[in-house]
Amino acid sequence: MSGHTGEHADPAVAFESAKLGVWTFLATEVLLFGALFTAYTVFRMKYPEMFRAEHAKLDRVLGAVNTVVLITSSLMVVLGVDAIKRGKARLLEACFGGTILLAAVFLCVKYVEYSAKFHHGIFPRTNLFFSIYFMLTGLHGIHVLLGMGLLSYVIVLSRRGRLSADYFTPAEMSGLYWHFVDLVWIYLFPLLYLIG
């Protein structure tokens, strides 16, 4: 229990606790997005024709591109965490750097989409569908930004030599969060772009 020079008294227990902490946080995230998913479901059943007409104004090709961008970014996280488990810190930094770059691409595409909507006079107040669209994608975009910050922090830790094959908790935990951000988009894409 004591006398260690490492990060924690018992690394295995600390790792499990951190993991449960992240899953608990993700549980609250499910319910945060869940409130908006509930609004989506209720209003889609109430106004099916309006949702059908409005969702056609979204560019499903751009949505699909962004889906592939996020899936690829998740793969980079998997490869990065695998790298540090084998003690390869430089490879972890390269992979997480790739994830951050892909996240930036995702936000750029989102920016192009938002600009096009504003240009055509479509705003959050335009109708219920676009209120929900901007709320859901906006909240998700904020999560992408936060993820970029977290992954950058892991890269800084790694560059300072704080991560190794024996201690990679920050990489693993921010990876879990990033996969969740990907998972939310996996539902947002069909609900908003494909079936309205």
Partner: protein, 92 residues
């Protein structure tokens, strides 16, 4: 606890390929008018993709029952919230 292996890398890449293919399928299906089935197919494919991400990328597959509980209980609550709200708004 450190065990990065070639196995986890090849699994990751296989899951990635499956996710990209499923994305292509769901986009292609969306161009075909199946009526109500469009929504059913899109949600089914999304759920398969989400399960792949949770099981392999978030390695829920090898996790304890406790972590599974943390993953599934919020989904049960979400279902309760959605169906509870619908029961109110649709039958009012």
């Amino acid at each position: 606890m450190a065990h990065g292996t070639g196995h986890s890398r090849s699994t990751g890449i296989a899951v990635f390929v499956a996710l990209v293919l499923l994305t292509a399928v769901t986009v292609l299906v969306s161009y075909v008018d199946l009526g109500l089935m469009n929504a059913v197919v899109a949600l089914l494919i999304a759920s398969v993709k989400a399960s792949l991400v949770a099981l392999f990328f978030m390695h829920l597959k090898g996790e304890s029952r406790l972590v599974w509980g943390f993953a599934l209980v919020p989904i049960a609550f979400l279902a309760l919230i959605i169906f509870g709200t619908l029961a109110d708004t649709m039958l009012r």
